[in-house]
Symmetry: D3
């Protein structure tokens, strides 16, 4: 099978990670997985939510949203509807959990980092692009906080790196990093979040049409693990240079 | 390691499935997994949501909620807060997807079944108990609709059975069907939804503390698949008898 | 006139009061008036709402709700609609006022008891069943709080008992404790809340069709007072035994 | 006991009923019970809510609200809070039910009348003033609709008149038509809605402090019935003159 | 061109300013511009919003709303809709800014004045009538606060007076103080807020149909400035007498 | 006075208008006024809102929003707060009115264009940048609709061009196109919307501190008119090239 855009089944789309996109945020990354573009802004504030005060530990959370016309047909704004939809809630929670998996709360101290992941243009895999970009924005925000002595320089609030990718079975073939057209045709759809050392943080597999067998699951996990290894390398390279502020 | 309630790691809690609990609903099941009790009511209505009209296909959806004092400390009512939380949204969507995995929409015809899963008492695993009980309520509702000729008698809207169970790694030991005390101590927490023929509908694994390695994931999947096989058998038995109405 | 279920006009439905229904709540009662089943959970917390702080006085409040399929046709969830309806508000307030009528706030001390009355199955008279059951749950919660020394043992926060019943005129005949089918056919519908010593806490009479004359009102009040006396006796009996925790 | 404003226990405050207050509404009454002033506007629209279409029957409903500074201390606007409170809901429903008690839906035809009762200044008894004034606005609106041939001239949509008054026991003395200062000191508070022929539409009695005995209830009902008779006469007089439009 | 009500183009409607309308509010003005009637209540509270605490400075804010039947056809209540519309927001903000333009926050001290402007009857120019009336209510509220020593007697929290008027171009003729029928036919519509000394606080001009040229803008500003001078004189006269409380 | 960024008082910031930014929207423009960046997406749908059906006329509307971290400190999401703020409402309405001033509804036919203006980075003048960019997106959307024959090729739905700029008085000097630092220091702040032929669509001037005199107003209007002329030329140039789709 040849893919719409000529990729091999185990090939990622072109991924770009642009740091310092916004001048205001402590960490700001515009991440693209092909035509999927997500702006990930990290905001650092001193202090933590009430339930965590006095613990000496920090907090990391995330909010995901799509611009109304990020997609092919316009969606109503959740602010206008007056409520956040289930999908938005679900993805915001996923991003937050994924990032917290590589955070040492003690080392972070009583500081909070909020990751805003706003999808400017969507073409499948927005949540996995968001996680991958948000990690880099988070790293920059922590660097900023250490520069400002909000976090002690000898502390390491990040215990590892984290990235994510989608996989799925389309017409019987397991594919890495689905575009929207592939995603809607997939029988099974899985989002996998891995640490840079190859362990799993989240595995979310859903049978869109047919339930999937154990060996299909195994193939998808292999494919995702490979993709995450590549993404971890791209994150490492993106963070090599010093960000001018 | 011995578990709080003396179970072996691969042992389910006592599971009961009480059909015909409410006199109003077309399918009504009170399911218990130990001290977790969920009332699953299935409501059948003729017709489908607007976006599906004229398709000749039916629809199945679910809403999950907890009574305010289902848990150890009282939670505020979502109706009073005026909005549904992310967790509630997430679980409602999971239950709906899980049930739709075994539905033949054409055979269902333009009918809608809504599954209300209300947790009366919680002790871990409420979403997996809800899925397991809701399947039985759904089966009863479909039987009712066939009795009323809403669905033709020779149609089979159910293409299989579906059940769910939680698994997790507590103090290094993989355990089946976590109670609340185990759940809070788990490093990794996974909810697995399987069809009666042993395939996967949903796999949702989350590293609560430490990311998990591939072999741990494999062990958990084995454990869950075994649990679901047992639950499928309990569902089959529960449905053996004719429900008096 | 013979009633649908063979009762005499002045006869209550079979009433059961099951204490200790939930393992989490400080007081937990499943009350049934025939097919009407309401779960009444009492939650005790130290402290009082802000406007009462420092007064040395406690607070008792209630929230009433129906499961979506407690009734013959499914009702939308108020949490999903994002607002509480007028009927729910009205009944929650009625239950709270009724219970506060037998509370000595000083003796309660700065503690709050919230009564959650969730209708699991409805067949008329849900608000009166809720009040009757909630009183017993409240009594158990206060007993619990005295056991924990939150309330001094020599204090008597309860100044009496309280129960409630509906009455109505159906086809010209005054009836006690209406079932749903009777309720919808009633010309006049009245809910009466009485203390155990036969005084009135609330009298709410509504002409559903024809306005009612003074002598009809008197007959209904007699009928209700008799019903409340019976209910007070059932509450007393239910509370005779020591609740194992 | 002498009352704050020198009234006898069974004396109403000065009541004024000013018709045609607003130039826009089909019926518009500014009613005062002493310092309590309520603007009651009746809006007629052809057609009925969806659930009533095709029935040939009309509908009457009401909405009650208070201006933020109708009271001694400013209350937050319910529009700003984003939700309607329980008290507002309760009173709106009471006004609607009270008016519908004297409506012949068939004679009204498929027309809807909405009564907006906005409290401009409050000094106790706002709901009873609202009912009393709304009846007059409703009568004017029906007259208007008959003038426009929306309702046939030979039909009588009003089957009677309706008015309301509050009564209560203050320091042991039963009083008619409580002012705010009396209301807050009342042990028992009752709102009674009567038809012009002396029958009851609503009786809502609440023990604010002490439960009340049957003979106290009887005394209060006598007092209220007398007040309603006077109010019915005032309504009749107010409607005697032809309203210039 | 002769206007509907016989006014000349540069003539205001009859304006009345009735102080002390409500007995509860610290300042209470019923202002009419012809058939437009707005009740402006000023509420004084000690203290300021959290973001201003400790500044030694006060705050003035406003809330505007219309009764549902203030207009020719009934509008839904914003409290029932659960959200405030854009127009309401916009006007509330405009009134607040206009009044703050003549406030010396230091002289006001840490006190808050809320101006509630509720339109009882609308016939064009409700926002400008509201500003004009609210200024008088504000002046009375400040007088009250000085009488109570909340504000020192030698302080002058008001640095000037403020009033507002609408102007517009109808059929090519610039008109002052538009009635509703004129407003809907206007090509250009402008609301102008001036201080008593003839300077501008707000200028809001909108081309409803045709964009407007600079000289038209100049003519409208002249017209508005003249109207505001007259209104300032009416405000001065209204405030001449001592308000009995 | 020299400005922070070295501009003369009557100089615009560097303005860029990037067409075709998003692949999904029918018109998509990323507009920058210096560091202010707004993504303006135009969505075309056949049909019009219900109140306009059958009129043969189209509709144009706009929604404005800011990303949470578009500003120096993070703002809460309006979707999370569950309501849209007054400022957002106000600006959305302004953008819509401004664009409709150059629309011939008849020529547009029964089509709707929604302009989503999302501020990605803010540095003052977001609403004026939004209007300026949205006009170009609207022009592209109309071109697209004519290419698809939704609008007849010989129709001219655009009757002119529209752009907007802010002006203000800072330390006594009138300045064009304020940056954020200038905006917060301005005594008077004005937003002016002009057509390409130099007429006014909206004039919104606000005295932030001191009321402003007529001659100051005149100077600001001159300055704004000059800025809009330049912007109109930039819009014209941006639209010169054919947009590849």
């Amino acid at each position: 099978m040849s893919r719409i855009d000529g990729r091999t089944p185990q090939q990622l789309r072109p991924v770009t990670i642009e740091r310092g996109w916004s001048k205001h945020a402590e960490g700001s990354v515009l991440v693209s997985f092909g035509d999927t573009k997500v702006l990930c802004n990290a905001s650092v504030t001193e202090g933590v939510p009430r339930w965590r005060k006095g613990s000496g530990e920090g907090w990391v959370t995330a909010e995901y949203a799509m611009l109304p016309r990020a997609t092919n047909t316009r969606g109503d704004r959740e602010s206008v509807k007056g409520r956040i939809g289930g999908r938005t809630h679900e993805i915001s929670r996923l991003i937050g959990r994924s990032l917290r998996a590589v955070i040492d709360y003690k080392a972070l101290g009583e500081n909070t980092v909020v990751l805003d992941c706003d999808v400017l243009q969507a073409d499948g895999g927005t949540r996995t692009a968001a996680i991958t970009g948000a990690y880099v924005a988070l790293a920059d925000a922590i660097g900023w906080a250490q520069g400002r002595k909000l976090i002690k320089a000898n502390r390491k609030p990040l215990t590892g790196t984290v990235s994510a990718v989608s996989v799925g079975i389309v017409d019987g073939t397991p594919l890495l990093d689905l575009r929207y057209e592939e995603d809607v045709r997939a029988d099974t759809d899985m989002n996998v979040v891995c640490t840079g050392d190859g362990r799993f943080v989240e595995v979310q597999g859903t049978a869109e049409a047919e339930p999937f067998a154990r060996d299909e699951l195994n193939t998808l996990l292999d494919l995702a693990a490979g993709g995450c290894t590549e993404l971890a390398e791209l994150q490492r390279k993106a963070l090599e240079t010093v960000l001018e502020r």
